[in-house]
Symmetry: C2
Subunit: 379 residues, 2 copies
């Protein structure tokens, strides 16, 4: 077991909370199942499993541990298959990681774009237990010229975003070799100390800390090393963005999460009492670096004040934060914003970058609230 | 000048015909300009320039030879720009090459697919004069690790097939290094012995013999060597297809033309006299190999007979062919088909391959005709 970066009692509290029953999820799509965390209900470092957002591309596949096999092949010297029992008997690691859907906060885009209309809660932080992918790649003897590792799920069907292949396909995403061999990438079978629920990939899923959720392939049944960049459907048609090569647009697959913060409480259009302290709560996260500062604006971005972190800095996990706001005496509508800075000195961008299309919505998201005087009359 | 594969008088005849005035083109799209050759009007090895199909992605750019500059840069040691005059002063080559739009014959697909509804005439064979691309790459000192050459046109705008970049883009396509350095790839300024017309890329275009027309970038202003496969819009969103990597679909750019034949005469639904010799005319072409055999069926594919070539075998140029059909005594509807074989023994496929989507329509195309007895009464 690897040493935790933060003390165990803190984690244990989180797990306790994480096992509490849930106040339910928000439906964004009925089938395939896409359900959102009500972020304002989350008040623990670890998101309770029952509150954790669910992102599915196809109907949930039914896999039985007794017959489950994980196949490791492709550009490897010793391809092999592993049973569920064999996987669980291997040395494991447990680590917290924040997963955010690349389309989280899409509902904030104007004009509206296609796709599930996620608001704030297609993000969660859980503790995952499993075997480092690296251990499996070492056992398989990955070839020197393997440049990517494709992770394949048992979920399959015909996707929608063009261009679409003419046959049903299994969900699959590749990782660059350099990321795949990092110790934090897990072939996981537990979430918050219990076996994965069906919606979260039972019996086995990948966890790729620091990458958007699409990389953490659920219902994982295949690990496939390739000698060329994998141009699968979810690398090109979907989950791609436009990068620039000397000003020429080129299509690339999404990967690392970008620095982001969100306000969890108050909620949009919540009514607050005038001239009272309202504690604004939120969370901030980044990809392969730490979040170091959080700034909050209560006037639509004209001025900013520093917030206070509730969680220590830990790579790949979010940091919850708070900010005590003395609400104005003047009733009216106020726009709250949060903006994080990371260890590299980067801050969130002012606007959504159109090169990411309907993904990577990381600009400060406006949370409009109403301030009223205690009698309820709006002056 | 390179030696012609076929005798000069033959070519000269073709050029003479190629300069004759035209019976007009078929509009497939008004703007941008997409006009089709009436294939039944073509009776020369070289398609007359005025009859040559026009495929445009954006409005025709206006380029002046006096100010024209061709930029060669990217992964090269000595980037440079070349004027029109300088290009014309370099040693040139002249060669015949067949260009076919990758979407030619799309109207034959059932159910109907998106895109210009090309019938038979988005193909033509012309004689092109220009400087081998290789000479320009040698002058620029292409780096050893440059793996592709991007050819860029002056035509630009916002394309339609998703995913689409958020900015207007210039038409651009890349060639693998191995193809780019072959002597047949030309930076051309003449077509059938005259300066390129505006619709065909005036003043300068690329000619990539053996590849679908999309590779022969018109209004060429940039040659850009890259160290990674170029994932531009017309390599991924458009002009791509689904290949398979161990049964996993992966997106790849279209490139080499596939073996194909077409019947130019008679036309669909043409009425023919019963019990008379009707000469069926057509053409056949391939990518990087020669067409060696042509078979014709007049009964919808139940039986096949050998046709006769009118042109010698010449790599990168089509071969016209004919077949004398004694029409049946029995009036009725008959389906004609043509099927070519190449020097590798490959034949055209029986059906359209769905992995190519709305491109690469190379199965034998049914041409339905009516046979009537001389009085015109259909028995």
């Amino acid at each position: 077991m690897e040493t935790f970066y933060i003390e165990n009692s803190y984690i244990q509290d989180g797990i306790k909370k994480a096992r509490q029953s849930s106040s339910g999820l928000i439906i964004r799509q009925k089938e395939p199942r896409n359900l959102e965390t009500p972020l304002d209900e989350v008040d623990s470092f670890l998101t309770p499993t029952e509150l954790f957002y669910i992102r599915s591309h196809f109907p949930i596949p039914k896999l039985e541990p007794a017959s489950y096999q994980l196949r490791v092949d492709g550009a490897v010297r010793n391809p092999f298959s592993l049973s569920y029992r064999e996987l669980r008997d291997m040395p494991s690691e447990t680590r917290a990681a924040t997963l955010e859907c690349a389309g989280n906060s899409r509902v904030f885009l104007v004009p509206q774009v296609e796709g599930a209309q996620w608001e704030l809660g297609a993000v969660g932080n859980a503790e995952w237990t499993g075997v480092p992918l690296r251990a499996l790649l070492e056992r398989a003897g990955m070839e020197e010229d393997a440049c990517e590792i494709v992770l394949e799920g048992a979920d399959n069907g015909k996707p929608k975003e063009p261009p679409v292949p003419p046959v049903p396909i299994s969900y699959a995403r590749s990782l660059p070799r350099e990321k795949a061999i990092r110790r934090e990438v897990l072939i996981a079978y537990q979430m918050n100390g219990r076996d994965l629920p069906p919606d979260h990939g039972y019996p086995v899923r990948a966890i790729v800390p620091g990458h958007y959720g699409m990389a953490s392939v659920k219902w994982l049944t295949g690990i496939y090393a390739v000698r060329e960049p994998f141009q699968g459907y979810w690398q090109t048609s979907d989950y791609g963005y436009w990068d620039y090569l000397d000003a020429r647009p080129v299509r690339r697959p999404l990967g690392e999460m970008k620095l982001k913060s969100e306000i969890a409480r108050p909620r949009v259009y919540e009514t607050l009492a005038a001239n009272q302290v309202c504690t604004v709560f939120g969370a901030a996260w980044a990809g392969e670096t730490e979040v170091t500062e959080i700034a909050v604006s209560t006037d639509g971005g004209r001025s900013w004040a520093e917030g206070e972190f509730l969680d220590p800095a830990q790579r790949h996990a979010w940091r919850r934060w708070k900010f005590d706001w003395l609400t104005p005496k003047q009733p009216g509508k106020y726009t709250l914003l949060a903006r994080a800075k990371d260890a590299n000195g980067e801050v969130q961008p002012d606007q959504h970058d159109q090169n990411y299309g309907s993904y990577v919505i990381t600009h400060p998201l406006p949370i409009e609230v109403f301030v009223e005087n205690p009698t309820g009359s709006s002056s």
